[in-house]
Symmetry: C2
Amino acid sequence: MNTPDDDWLRLDQQICFSLHAASRAFNGVYRGILKDLGLTYPQYLVMLVLWEHDELPVKKLGEHLRLDSGTLSPLLKRLEAAGLVRRERSSRDERSVEVRLTEEGVALRGRALQVPRRIAASTGFGPEEVRVLRARLDDLTNALDAAALAEPDGSSADERP
Amino acid sequence: MNTPDDDWLRLDQQICFSLHAASRAFNGVYRGILKDLGLTYPQYLVMLVLWEHDELPVKKLGEHLRLDSGTLSPLLKRLEAAGLVRRERSSRDERSVEVRLTEEGVALRGRALQVPRRIAASTGFGPEEVRVLRARLDDLTNALDAAALAEPDGSSADERP
DNA sequence: CACAATTCAGTTGTGTGCAACTGAATGACG
DNA sequence: CGTCATTCAGTTGCACACAACTGAATTGTG
């Protein structure tokens, strides 16, 4: 059972495509539902974090979402333009920018409460299935992240002083 | 255990984030490995399809990958600029454009054969685990696609005057 | 205290992904 | 045969993602 290279390539096509497609399909379903709130999917992710924390520096936000400032900065500017968040440099540390919800941003949470319900209704997934799926995806992410750290490319690594 | 709205929102945060993060982590691992081939992840997906079919109109390519011309046209132009594919309008149907591999494109397959092996090595996933994961992701995609069709949105539609 | 290394947000450039549109070619139908 | 709808690739505009960089603030070290 050697599983020749050709078969591996075919299999890779399938898994690559499956994950890519699943991600985009998920995005698409949320897009339709979030349109009512005037949010994109990544903006919704940011708001979910802020509804939990209420006030957070950009750095922490990025750690929660695994996103860097190159993605977050313009995104937060758009959320600010929409009146949902306010950004102000920390007086403690002038390098840091605190992101906090406006009243409008807090109020939006009320309307967002129906989103998970609509998603669940759309997919027919119950809380248990969601939990299982989430666990598997996290396993995958952890494996991939570990792999990315272990083999950043070819050779020249040296990441942790 | 009625699972109040607040808990649903928290759960939604987790599954949203998990899928989003998994997709990006996957992308990141492939990015590192595909850099050697000079391909991006979506370009690799296109090449995988072409290695199977050798010649395909843009339309069919889009059906295989669930991508539309808005995404494929510029991507294919880049692959053409890289010398991997050639695009020529069909003589049968002047609306259609046939995409076919160049010799270089065909040759790249040889170097790509090591990609799945390196991915597998990076993640420690065997063929069986890959198959199971793929099946779950396809289930998810099918559920989400069906949901997207069933509930395109709700209000301002007006798709065909 | 001075000065180099680090941390942080932001900017720039490239490559998707998708909606909406354009324009050319084909097909359907009276 | 002529007109109108449909099909197809391509373009435009917007919003991520991410790498690489900038510039300001802070920290660590001597």
